[in-house]
């Protein structure tokens, strides 16, 4: 095996020339008048210009993009200082225009270059320009700059959104020991408190938070299990105002997935609670009004059977006076009175049933529903000589809250009857149609009691709105709408044309898990 030389690589082996020829940089030697004295292989390959063609030429005549004045200054300074001067890719982009065709750096037309102007030979006033390719670096730098800009923009957006969240979202952050670590401006405004007063205080502070012991234990339990929980709380503001919140408790984790506490998002339901209370009150009022109406219906209903009893009793008296009263007549009269009393009693039971709020869903036919609804109104309908007509399929069934639906239908029919009382019209008619539509049951109640003017049609379902000249509470249709929409998950609309008013009720065929009031 040949022995390897450990001697310094001999100078006379053209080391400099070999190195310069193979170096991955451009090298140009210029004199102080910017004339080219040397142009290396690398530049020949990249510019397709042969050294022999440009020797002795000034560099700015070969590459016309070069600002001779600036280069002259740099050459002069380098020679004066004895240390290099520079062109940097980040500022001047390039000195020698070299086109690039690489796809990954196609953003640039020309190679980006760092150029060192080295005082090469101070005696002869020669400088060497060392040109290094910085395109990739510049590309990375530009991408980085672009991404930093993007990140800054996103950060700004995030900060803006954070500000919006702070101003709009009711939010409390607590640590694992239930101490408040952050609280949003929106919540502070509601509480009329300062952030400093709230931070580090205990979330379960009884001065502010009004929740039952039972709920508190439930929250603790969910916290222990790190599970999401929805609950209602009442907080007291600094002025003693009660604020009802529907909260969602969510566990919070840091970047390494360590549990660090909880975030409590709140929804202000104070107004909703007030509306709910108001609605409950309205419903109670409407029930009282409906009860009054029912009593008047019963009075109508009882008039005829009472006169039957009266007649039977009078007949008995006469027959006794005429001495023609026998056991058979007494038995007959007794049965008649007994039947009539049973009928009266049933009327009372029905009446009681309507006001007994059954919270259980029941399946029943529409025919049965209408029969129950009209039972108490029949007497009045007959007295007013109203033509009552039903066009229904007796087999249509519905699963819903029966009594609430009866209350609604009675309300609508009563409205029609009352409207007939106020106008004089012939051929008074109420017609009811019921039919199925995929998952819904449609009930149409139509009358020809004068109709409703278009301009007030949109207001008929509003509370305290009445078209009746007397005894109108203005709650009837509002209650109907509340029942149909909120409790029975249906839809009620009213149309009116000429003398006719059509009430359309759309109900789900099978109602699921609704809460009756």
């Amino acid at each position: 095996m040949a022995e390897k030389s450990t001697q310094r690589y001999p100078q006379n082996n053209n080391l400099n020339e070999k190195l310069i020829a193979s170096i991955d940089n451009g090298i140009i030697i210029l004199n102080d008048e910017l004339k080219i004295l040397y142009f290396n292989k690398w530049l020949e390959l990249h510019t397709s210009i042969k050294e022999g063609d440009i020797i002795g030429e000034t560099i700015d005549s070969v590459f016309t993009n070069i600002n001779a004045r600036t280069l002259q200054r740099k050459v002069k300074t380098a020679l004066r200082m004895g240390t290099p001067t520079f062109y940097t890719a980040s500022v001047t982009k390039y000195l020698i225009p070299i086109k690039i065709d690489q796809i990954n750096i196609s953003n640039f037309k020309h190679m980006r270059q760092d150029v060192s102007v080295i005082p090469f030979d101070l005696k002869q006033q020669y400088v060497a320009l060392i040109i290094s390719d910085q395109t990739n670096m510049t590309n990375i730098h530009n991408q980085l700059t672009f991404n930093i800009k993007k990140i800054n923009e996103l950060n700004l957006e995030l900060l803006k959104e954070r500000k919006t969240i702070d101003q709009r979202v009711i939010l409390t952050k607590i640590d694992t020991r239930h101490h408040i670590t952050d609280i949003s401006l929106a919540y502070l405004e509601l509480l009329d408190m300062k952030k400093g007063d709230m931070l580090k205080s205990n979330y379960f502070d009884t001065q502010r938070l009004r929740i039952s012991q039972e709920l508190k234990e439930k929250i603790f339990d969910y916290m222990q299990r790190k599970e999401v929980l929805k609950y209602e709380e009442i907080s007291l503001s600094s002025t003693g105002k009660e604020i009802c919140l529907l909260n969602t408790l969510v566990p919070e984790y840091d970047k390494s997935a360590n549990h660090i506490g909880f975030i409590i998002f709140g929804e202000n339901i104070t107004s909703a609670k007030l509306v709910q209370e108001h609605q409950t009150k309205l419903l109670e009022n409407s029930r009282t009004a409906a009860m009054g109406e029912m009593i008047s219906m019963i009075a109508h209903q009882w008039r005829q059977p009472l006169s039957v009893i009266n007649t039977v009793v009078a007949t008995l008296k006469i027959k006794k006076a005429l001495n023609i009263l026998n056991d058979e007549i007494i038995d007959e009269s007794y049965i008649k009175i007994e039947n009539t009393i049973t009928y009266l009693s049933e009327t009372i039971d029905d009446f009681r049933n309507f006001f007994k709020h059954n919270k259980e869903l029941k399946t029943f036919t529409i025919a049965h529903l209408l029969q129950k609804s009209t039972q108490l109104l029949k007497a009045e309908i007959e007295v007013l000589n109203i033509d009552y007509e039903e066009d229904i399929d007796i087999n249509i069934e519905i699963t819903s809250y029966q009594n609430e639906l009866i209350q609604t239908i009675i309300n609508i029919l009563k409205n029609s009857i009352d409207a007939f009382k106020e106008i004089n019209t012939e051929n008074q008619k109420i017609s009811i149609k019921a039919y199925e539509e995929i998952a819904h049951i449609i009930i149409e109640i139509e009358d020809n009691a004068g109709g409703i003017p278009q301009e007030i049609l949109s207001k008929v379902f509003e509370p305290y709105f009445s078209t009746k000249s007397k005894n109108g509470t203005g709650l009837g249709l509002y209650v109907c709408k509340t029942i149909i929409q909120e409790h029975l998950k249906g839809r009620i609309t009213m149309k009116s044309k000429n003398d006719h008013t059509l009430t359309l009720i759309e109900l789900p065929k099978i109602l699921q898990n609704s809460v009756a009031v």
């Binding site: 740099k74 002069k76 004066r80 240390t83 290099p84 001067t85 940097t88 500022v91």
Partner: protein, 199 residues
């Protein structure tokens, strides 16, 4: 971290060396700009980064061009050059420069001249050599200087602070030569060697 301090004698020697270096730098800058230039007597201090950033903050003006250039060798570090907007604009007018690109290039050249002449001369006086990296430039509002990571690598720096003035052209700049612990120690040794030859 061991705190390194320069004795009064060491400071005096450094001050003398810097004065020589500054004379050289001034002449070359004046050549470059073809104008009469002066440099203030350098103020030499060893300070920690917090003090350095406070010094930057105390510079007048809102927006500065800020350029840096590293130098390597036994004595290594970085030069930081600040030039305010107004001075940069005056420099552009004086050199008849077109556009931001040329102006940035001229500021870099100024930085390079100051860094090269100052540190080369200083190195020569201490029998060593330095080499220079390419300078870089950015325009940073001074109040953001504290978040500049470039300075976080320093624990303690030797600051040689001087003002460059071209009275007629109203061009003022401030240059800081920043060196790290290793170089401060090296510098201290060299200064002591010089001191021994004097005494």
């Amino acid at each position: 971290m061991i705190e390194i301090n320069l004795s009064e004698d060491e400071k005096d020697v450094l001050q003398e060396l810097m004065n020589v270096a500054y004379g050289n730098a001034t002449a070359i800058v004046a050549d470059m700009l073809d104008a009469f230039a002066s440099l203030s007597i350098p103020n030499i201090k060893i300070m920690n980064i917090r003090e350095l950033l406070n010094t930057f903050h105390s510079l007048k003006g809102d927006s500065y061009f800020f350029s840096t250039q590293a130098f390597v060798g036994e004595f290594s570090g970085e030069c930081a050059f600040f030039i305010d907007n107004e001075s940069a604009n005056n420099l552009a007018i004086h050199l008849e420069l077109d556009g931001e690109e040329d102006l940035n290039d001229a500021i870099l050249e100024l930085t390079n001249i100051l860094t090269s002449t100052l540190t080369t001369r200083l190195a020569k006086e201490m029998n060593t050599q330095v080499q220079f990296a390419l300078p870089s430039i950015s325009k940073i509002p001074l109040n953001e200087m504290g978040s500049n990571n470039a300075f976080k690598q320093y624990s303690q720096v030797i600051v040689i602070d001087t003002q460059l003035n071209f009275h007629d052209q109203k061009i003022n700049g401030e240059i800081f030569i920043l060196t790290k612990d290793g170089s401060i120690k090296w510098l201290k040794n060299q200064l002591n060697d010089i001191l021994k030859t004097i005494i």
